[in-house]
Each structure stands twice: as C-alpha cells, then as structure tokens.
C-alpha cells in the first residue's frame, strides 16, 4: 500500500510503470486518473485544492486498507495532490493490482467512490468571475450505497 498526499505534480506514466513492475503474478492492473476540467464557460484560471493534513492520510489509508480486505488484491496505490492546479493538470490517481480483472476494477471503483466523499479534500474553482467552492454531488454520496 502506498499513499501519497502532495502538492507536486506526479507522472502517470512513471507511477503506472513503477506500480505495475513491482508486482508478481498479478494478472490485472487498473489505474484511474482524475484531471482538472475547465468550466463550461472555458475560463477556469485555477482549481485550488484544500485538505486536512493528518486526517487526509488517515482517511486514505483507511479506504485503501478496506479495499485490501474486501478484494483479492496484491497492492493499492493512491496519490492525491493539493494546492493550486490548472485545467488539464492531473489531480490524483489510484492503481490496483489483482490476480483477476474483476477484483482490480471493483477495488479501483470503490477507492474512487470513497475518496470522492470520505477523504477531506475541498475544491475551489477560480475564474475571472470569482471563486466558488465545488458543491458535493448527491450522486457521489449515492455511489457509496453500492458497496
């Protein structure tokens, strides 16, 4: 299990390669990467991600440990950035390695669903029109009922 909370960018290619090469006899590797989307108006200057140092790492570790307990997995990787990001920047990634694809996919979706609503990150969108905190979506809360 590897959990990284950082302001620095990460390289999806490097991380995926490192994660994949570290595992013996895991037939299936799934990665999810979240990217900053522009606003509908196309004028997003910056997305600022605030987090709760200390609790963030605990919450991500708890989610990752839960995934490792529920599915047959070889390993889990979670990277999440904070601070100011530009449209197109990568916000975060998760990766799962498993003997079988069903476990790798389900665990990655589980990690994402919990990370969305249970890890203490808050997004603020800053454009020339001002700054708005991104509202949590009901559908993200509803997604948790699946598990």
């Amino acid at each position: 299990m590897r959990i990284l909370v950082q302001s620095e960018p990460f390289d999806l290619g490097d991380e995926a390669k490192k994660f994949a090469s570290g595992h013996n006899n895991m037939g299936a590797i799934v990665t999810f990467t979240g990217v900053v989307r522009d606003l509908a108006r196309g004028d997003l200057d910056c997305m600022e991600i605030e987090h709760y140092p200390g609790m963030t790492e605990r919450a991500l570790e708890k989610i990752a440990r839960e995934a490792l307990a529920r599915w047959s997995l070889g390993d889990v990787l979670v990277i999440h950035r904070h601070g100011p990001l530009a449209p197109g920047d990568m916000i975060m990634m998760v990766a799962t390695a498993a003997p079988h694809r069903k476990d790798a996919f389900e665990a990655a979706e589980y990690l994402m669903d919990y990370l969305k609503s249970r890890a203490p990150f808050w997004k603020k969108e800053i454009s020339r029109d001002g700054a708005d905190w991104v509202a949590a979506k009901d559908e993200d809360e509803d997604a948790l009922t699946r598990w």
């Binding site: 979240g34 605030e50 709760y52 200390g54 609790m55 605990r58 919450a59 999440h80 916000i91 975060m92 994402m112 990370l115 969305k116 609503s117 249970r118 890890a119 203490p120 990150f121 808050w122 997004k123 603020k124 905190w133 991104v134 509202a135 949590a136 809360e141």
Partner: protein
C-alpha cells in the same frame, strides 16, 4: 482543544484554527457555544445539514462525544477525487 475549520467554513469564520476552552460534552453542545459567540459563527453553523464534523481526525456526527478530544474539525461535504 483545537477547533479547525476548512473550505467555506474557514472563510466564513475567518480563521483556520483556534484553541477553545469548553465544557461541552458533545459536538452539538460545542456548536451551540460557538454560535453564541459571534454572528460569523452563527452564520457558518446556520445549517448543520451542510456541514460535516471530524473528532480527532475521524468523521463522526453531531451527537458524538468530544470528552478528551484533542481536535474537532468542521467542514462542508468533501469533494476529493
């Protein structure tokens, strides 16, 4: 204990963290004490359904005990990922 505020809760109250002396037994009692202090607290805590709380860095609810807690944090629903 330390009381922490994040995102728009932090902006409304105007600070990220403060030390609070309290005899409150639960999160709800602490909220009532804070609301009684100043208008900006009353505004920030106006709609508890829009808020989440963590005691010692674990998500919990407003009925939770804060006896012996080192850290209570208030924030809006999270938007990670």
């Amino acid at each position: 204990m330390d009381v922490l505020y994040f995102a728009w809760v932090r902006e409304r109250i105007g600070l990220p963290k403060e030390a609070v002396e309290t005899e409150a037994a639960t999160v709800s009692e602490l909220v009532e004490e804070l609301k009684a202090r100043e208008e900006r607290y009353a505004v920030a805590f106006g709609d508890l359904s829009a808020l989440r709380v963590a005691v010692d860095q674990e998500l919990t609810d407003f009925d939770a005990s804060i006896r012996g807690a080192r850290e209570v944090a208030f924030f809006p629903p999270m938007t990670g990922g």
